[in-house]
Amino acid sequence: MANVKPDPRALRESPLQHLATELEAAEATGPHNVSIREVPFATMIGIRATPGSPAHDAIATVLPHGLPAAVGEVAGQPDALGVLWISPDEFLAVSVNERPELVATLEDALGQERGHVVDLSSNRTIIELSGPAARHVLRKTTPTDIHPTVFTVNRAITTTLARTPVLLWRTEDTTWRIMPRASFAEHIAFNLMDAMHEFNHALVS
């Protein structure tokens, strides 16, 4: 008979928790403001379902905004539940508010159909880059085109940043989420903080 176990959440440690002070200190202030922080412990669930299949239909039905249909699309919203398009049959549901029940909901929806639902909440973390200069920090770190007319708000793609695979999600006009796998988080954070330095100063063209 199992004992009653304590809530373990106090024991969690996010990949950048130990760098909180450094991240805060890295903020560039002034007209070219840019700040960086970790958004820890988001619920993330990997979904694999082929469009047109019963699994895809079933899972889309239990998600408030269904599943995204094309590269870059996000079904849902950054501040609630957003489902990112990873590949034609691969998606990642992301909720910054913890949704511990969601895995079971999606697994139930999948049932015995062909597909996959996997809790990936520990797999990645979220680094949020925010401020007018965020775009210029990204110019120095990712080869993807982040021009505002091309990379519109609530678009997300798989790309590389600091030569490391990440998901890149523009959540607001000047706010971006960078989602590396956990082991890469420090490397990404150090690289971004380094790229932020110059925005403390009057810009050299």
Binding site: A2, N3, K5, P6, D7, P8, L11, R12, E13, S14, P15, H18, F41, G46, R48, Q112, R114, G115, H116, V118, D119, L120, S121, S122, N123, R124, R139, K140, T142, P143, T144, D145, H147, V150, A162, R163, T164, R181, A182, S183, F184, E186, H187, F190, N191, D194, A195, M196, H197, E198, F199, N200, H201, V204, S205
Partner: protein
């Protein structure tokens, strides 16, 4: 080196009222030291304009012949003035091989001309560099009048535009030109207004001091922006000295202009002999007069504006025009009172005692190409225009066709490249009106191709009619036709190569420009033949009967267009940011234990944990003893992990692994080996069956992505009918392995729900549970040491908490963290293979002692058919065995070659019997031992082998693969 002065102590700066100098600010002086002479310059000056302004004209001696050389040009095409520059900043580097006319002066900088070949700085560069990624619709290369007109048009159409220019000023050669008018405004006004409009547009990036140096497939371009060298003060940390731009452009407008060429004649290399455009550039951009008595030699009309300016200043001696018939521009000059000597050339020069130009010999240039009557003029400066070479480098780098144009007398664009547009003098036209018109049209066309249509508005300027260009590149020697008569006809000033050198090459039988380039080294220098290459081809066409410029053609241009620094390419990718460093959730726990780390791919992993006073060997030995006799713990988080789900998952895995997976029971795991279709081992690991339709696969740390691709590839291309889906969960889980006879005592304290009794929780079983501290976990009895082992996997967020909990629970048993070094020994004692260390991509499972893992009953699996090939049935295949040195303390390096006793003393070369894949000091065996791949090794147990790389050679005995506890009695630990 003493700079040669034209007139010592005299300033050659022209009063601002006459030539203000568009690039300088006369209100701000700058003190610089050049070649040991401290002098005053103006902000905006370059090293060469400062030198000329102060009457200095020598810029170092030539590289091989040691002849005095002066400034030739006013731009990047300069072949003579190469500098080592040290700026007066705290954090800086002495950079060498910089091109004089491109180096802007700053206060208290020290510049020295390079003598002989350049030398790299011996210290690390402390400055900061970075790179950016840009995605313009339209990339405009060059911000002269054509480029500015193109950018203006494209940006007004709504396109995203990046326009880059290598110089400090915008406006190209137009800058400072007197009397030019665009749209009814003075050019300076038009340029300023255009620049202001472009800068105000958020979707336009307009950068000066930025050189596009390379063009690559799919309109990928690279450029270097020099951001801070022109500033006196140290810039704050984070502002890069140089920025490399990686540009992916939809359309490109090349408005790169053209370079003037010299003419080859006897003694054409003296200080004071310049390009006419160089003299014009120093006058118009910097208000500097190149000399006091100046003659011009030309094949074309481009010098006549300069002639007029020099005549007005009272410094023009004469214009020597190669053309016998005076052009309209020449006639106007004559009418203005200028001495134009038509149908003539300069055939020789004289020098002062110091080697600078003192006079020129002007000869009639007869219709048959022979020299006629000569006259001598005393001049200190000669401006030469042998015609203009369009800057077609980026076009040619992209394999664009290049042809010789007789009218232009230059190599021009043969056929436009797709998505390229051309504007300005790169097209061969030297007309300002045409440059502006085709600039605007190129901008409109380029923008239109990206979905931004507009009607071109052509800025208006005078057409500037030009007369014909004479086809002269080499003046005959006044001394006859021998090779020796051409010993001082310089073709490539940087490489010190003459017509005589070209004659030697053709005399050796060469007729291809590519061969002659390499034989003579012409065009291979710092300047890549910007001024010399066409003349070299011209000389060849004179020498080789029946060859013309057309059929000799030019060599292919290659990046970089002008020299760039490696450190600029590296950008921020140096030091700590050089490469991604992957850390596990327990990394800081290892740090706290003073771990020594090693790199495993990108992963940083604990190698061993030395205690105070311990050597590396002692620490590793202690760790292995703990895992054998007590209990140890290791961070195994880096292993690759893939979840496989679907009704056919077992069938799928059965095809992927060499051994069977259909009958694996839920709750149990099985070790499996993957081979390629060639039957060679490429990955291994334990796979757990979580449910009938759900498996949890472990891969090697480095193989995680490769295995996932392998699974997807087979599923998507061959077996898509099988219901199996794969998701990488490598980083979802962190893992601690607890290993040793006392391992059970430790894990019992962590998970009281689990019955750890050996008969209740068998080897290769796992349990899903919640640890007593609330963390959800999966505990598996998997062993990589041969001891009783439990691998505890938890969500990565709990990885650190798990490590601490295990350490705490094990404290009573002196639980010992062990690193990769200890693990390599522990597994080697048991003969467990590390894929990639003991295998090299050529080994079958049978070769490495795992015949048992290859199913004899499965109908098929990937690699199966390979085992019937003759090559796999050879009895001399390399097989993995253990080896023991005769001296039990001997150590050898991994990879050491092994030979048999007969071959040890046989004449070399001999074939090896194999090599050591790992050699270790074993506490359990109380001796050193190792693993080795040995030909026919399993049948040579007891035989002696030798490592001949050691003196004396180290002797080994071949022993069975499993050195420790071959019966596996230790698997269940302490009772």
């Amino acid at each position: 080196m003493t700079p040669i002065a034209v007139t010592t102590g005299t300033s050659f700066r022209v009063p601002a009222a006459i030539a203000p100098g568009a690039a300088i600010n006369r209100d701000e002086t700058v003190e610089v030291t050049i070649d040991g002479h401290t002098m005053t310059a103006y902000r905006g000056d370059t090293v060469t304009s400062a030198l000329l302004a102060n009457g200095h004209r020598r810029v170092g001696d030539s590289i091989y012949l040691g002849r005095p050389r002066g400034v030739l040009a006013c731009g990047v095409e300069e072949p003579n003035s190469l500098l080592t520059v040290t700026r007066a900043k705290a954090e800086t580097i002495s950079e060498t091989m910089l091109i004089g006319p491109t180096v802007e002066v700053t206060n208290n900088m020290v510049a020295e001309h390079v003598q002989g070949i350049g030398k790299l700085a011996e210290t690390a560069d402390p400055e900061y560099y970075d790179y950016t990624y840009e995605h313009p619709d339209v990339l405009v290369v060059g911000a002269g009048p054509a480029g500015l007109a193109a950018a203006l048009q494209a940006s007004r159409a709504g396109a995203r535009v990046v326009i880059l220019d290598e110089r400090a000023t915008f406006g190209g050669n137009l800058v400072g030109t007197p009397d030019a008018v665009i749209d009814g405004k003075p050019v300076e006004t038009w340029i300023a207004e255009t620049v202001a409009e472009l800068q105000a547009n958020d979707d336009v990036t307009l950068l000066n001091r930025t050189t596009v140096f390379g063009g690559y497939e799919n309109n990928y371009f690279m450029a270097t922006q020099r951001r801070t060298d022109h500033l006196d003060d140290q810039v704050p940390f984070g502002v890069s000295r140089e920025r490399t731009l990686h540009l992916r452009a939809k359309q490109v407008v090349l408005a790169t202009g053209s370079h003037e060429r010299p003419i080859v004649f006897k003694n054409n290399d003296r200080p004071g002999i310049m390009l006419a455009s160089g003299i014009a550039g120093y006058l118009n951009r910097y208000g500097v007069l190149a000399g006091s008595s100046i003659a011009l030699l030309t094949t074309n009309d481009s010098v006549y504006l300069l002639a007029q300016q020099l005549a007005e200043l009272g410094h023009l001696v004469a214009v020597i025009d190669v053309r016998a018939d005076l052009s309209e521009a020449a006639l106007q000059a004559v009418a203005a009172g200028i001495d134009v000597i038509a149908g003539s050339v300069v055939c020789d020069t004289t020098a002062s005692d110091q080697g600078a130009l003192a006079g020129i010999t002007v000869a009639e240039y007869l219709a048959d190409g022979e020299l006629g009557a000569t006259r001598h003029f005393e001049v200190d400066t000669l401006g030469v225009s042998g015609g203009w070479s369009p800057v077609i480098h980026l076009h040619s780098q992209r394999q664009g066709k290049v042809v010789w144009d007789h009218e232009v007398q230059g190599f021009v664009i043969g056929q436009p490249r797709a998505d390229f547009h051309y504007a300005g003098s790169v097209t061969g036209s030297l007309s300002l009106g045409e440059a502006l018109a085709n600039g605007a049209n190129a901008g409109a066309a380029a923008a239109d191709a990206t979905g931004h249509f507009s009607f071109a508005t052509e800025p208006v300027a005078a057409a500037g009619h030009r007369g014909p260009v004479a086809a002269l590149r080499m003046v005959p020697s006044p001394d006859g036709e021998d090779q020796d008569a051409y010993a001082n006809h310089f073709v490539d000033l940087h490489r010190d190569q003459t017509v005589q050198d070209v004659l030697r090459a053709t005399g050796a039988g060469m007729s291809s420009v590519e061969h002659i380039k390499r034989y003579t080294s012409i065009s291979t220098g710092n300047d890549q033949g910007k001024t010399g290459a066409v003349n070299a081809i011209g000389v060849m066409s004179e020498i080789l009967d029946g060859h013309t410029m057309d059929d000799i053609g030019t060599t292919t241009f290659r990046a970089p267009y002008s020299p760039i620094s490696y450190v600029g390419l590296a950008g921020r990718q140096r030091g700590e940011l050089f490469d991604a460093l992957r850390k596990t959730a327990m990394d800081r726990a290892h740090e706290a234990l003073d771990a020594v780390f090693e790199m495993a791919g990108e992963w940083r992993r604990a190698s061993y944990y030395p205690r105070a006073g311990e050597t590396k060997a002692q620490a590793i030995r202690r760790e292995t003893i703990a895992a054998r006799n007590g209990v140890g713990m290791i961070d195994s988080s880096t292993l690759g992990k893939i979840e496989v789900r679907g009704k056919d998952s077992a069938e799928f895995l059965n095809r992927i692994y060499t051994n069977g997976f259909l009958k694996l029971k839920v709750g149990r795991g099985r070790y499996g080996v993957m081979t390629g279709v060639d039957g060679k081992v490429f990955d291994d690991g334990v796979t757990l069956r979580l449910a009938e339709d759900r498996f949890f696969m472990h891969t090697t740390s480095g193989g995680a992505q490769r295995v996932l691709n392998w699974l997807e590839n087979w599923h998507q291309t061959e077996w898509s009918h099988l219901d199996a889906t794969f998701t990488s969960v490598s980083e979802q889980f962190a893992t601690v392995a607890v290993s040793g006879p006392k391992a059970r005592r430790v894990v019992e304290q962590l998970a009281s729900d689990v019955d750890f009794a050996p008969e209740a929780f068998e080897f290769m079983e796992f349990r899903e549970t919640t640890l007593d501290n609330g963390i959800p976990a999966r505990i598996s009895r998997i062993s990589f040491t041969g001891e009783l082992s439990y691998e505890i996997a938890v969500p990565t967020q709990y990885g650190r908490a798990l490590w601490d909990a295990v350490a705490q629970a094990g404290a009573a048993y002196d639980i010992t963290p062990y690193g990769l070094e200890a693990q390599r020994i522990l597994r080697a004692e048991k003969g467990f293979v590390i894929v990639g260390q003991d295998t090299d991509g050529t080994n079958s499972p049978q070769d490495v002692g795992m015949d048992w893992v290859v199913s004899k009953i499965k109908q098929d699996f990937l690699g199966k058919r390979s085992y019937q090939l003759d090559d796999f049935l050879r009895d001399d295949r390399e097989e993995l065995v253990a080896i023991m040195a005769t001296d039990k303390n001997s150590m050898v390096r991994d990879g050491a070659a092994l030979v048999s006793a007969e071959d040890l003393d046989a004449p070399r070369p001999v074939s090896t019997s194999g090599h050591v894949t790992g050699y270790y000091d074993s506490a359990a065996l109380d001796r050193t031992f190792g693993l080795a791949l040995v030909r026919g090794g399993s049948k040579r147990i007891g035989e002696k082998l030798y490592a001949p790389a050691y003196d004396p050679p180290v002797e080994f005995e071949i022993t069975p693969l499993i050195s420790f506890d071959p019966e596996g009695t230790r698997r269940d630990g302490e009772r």
